[in-house]
Symmetry: D2
Subunit: 139 residues, 4 copies
């Protein structure tokens, strides 16, 4: 149990997200995921960091259904790591239209960098910097 | 009086909209305006056209305040032309944070093109194609 | 041996690609990969298809170095499948600055869809539609 | 005569720039203009500023021709102000395909902000901050 809440974020597809066949471009879908992660941080009372900043190091995304213009829903959950290691891994899903069938499923690996020293940090370093009160009280 | 309703569209700024100083990029702000116009069409019961398509031919945009990550509001209104000419002109405003001070003010000129013949059409041609029931009944 | 040429595509980072810490956003990097694949098609004398269209179904991307404003290089190569199956898999690398160290490494899975019937096709169906003369003559 | 060189910047349209009718989206065209202005700064030996930063306050853009996937050319020139006022005005043109007919014509107004004090500065303040050696020597 990571001690953090899974979040659900609603947002609209914008016309500029659509490609030349009228569906959301695969790159634009990653912007929805990023918005979902920022919203996850905000709702878990974490700032985006000032000294220790999160950096995406790997994304695996499966595209299962076309996304048209309309509203979508992004679910964001942090995998339980068991300990506070050098990476956080997020499971994210994008739903468009059907509530039963996701359109995109992604696993996003985030590392933590000391902004000044450009060196690798741990999740705990990040939480200390981001003022992670939620992490300590939410169990 | 154009016979069409002014619309207000809410949408969130996405992290990918922010530039290297942390505010919405001027190009991305135009995506909000485009989203507002699509929403205006939808709420005025107009389709986006199949035979006659609207094309942006001129944009004048004044940027008055920085837009941070958060929710924004786009107001979209069609100028009353008095007659059904070769252009529709939209007045649009983006509000972020303060409800009293807009962040962006834009005037957007839209022309109408016959998709097959690549020739210029009138607003009336477009309305005929887009099934503009609202236009005829809303006065 | 797939019979297709590996391609190298140069393009500039645009200011709008940079995020709030001044480096290329992870979503924007996928646009470079997409541009690389379109260029791969063009240089291998393949059209983008009209009846049978390629659709990205999975992306695995590793981000190893920050990409600043400047020129980048995208390498695109199709994996040899041995037979003409239901998927094409592309290995792609983005280089920025150092010619020895890639910034992004990606594996992109592409499926083929019959645009009218919305049914799955094979790579061979796509090549037949895209007029793949290069595939037959380049061995 | 502003003392600065007019610049021409080449760059490719990316697939993600195209909208659902297969032409460059009007918002994306502004990214080409922004790239042209950064290139103008670089070639005129101006940095993008650290204490005094340029901010776009108004854009007037006329869209005259559709831009397909391919290479484009952005011309960027600073209007001669006669004195070093609170605004710089850039005339920009985008050419795609035909060298004789521009696709987009824009006038872009840029103001200068003291990053710390959030107060308005003059072009001269900006040039002092950006180390504008070129301005003094290029006549």
């Amino acid at each position: 149990m990571s001690g953090f809440r899974k979040t659900v974020t609603q947002l609209p597809v914008r016309p500029g997200d659509l490609d030349s066949v009228g569906h959301v471009n695969n790159a634009r879908a990653l912007e929805y995921l990023e918005h979902g992660r920022w919203d996850w941080l905000r709702r878990n009372n974490l700032s985006r960091g000032t000294n220790v900043i999160p950096v995406v190091v790997r994304i695996e995304a499966d595209y299962r259904a076309e996304i048209p213009w309309g509203d979508i829903r992004v679910e964001t959950d942090m995998q339980d790591g068991g300990d506070l290691t050098f990476k956080a891994i997020f499971n994210q899903l994008i739903y468009a239209g059907s509530p039963d069938q996701f359109a995109v499923k992604a696993v996003v690996h985030v590392a933590f960098i000391d902004a000044a020293a450009r060196s690798v940090c741990t999740l705990q370093d990040y939480l200390d910097d981001a003022g992670a009160m939620a992490a300590n009280t939410a169990r």
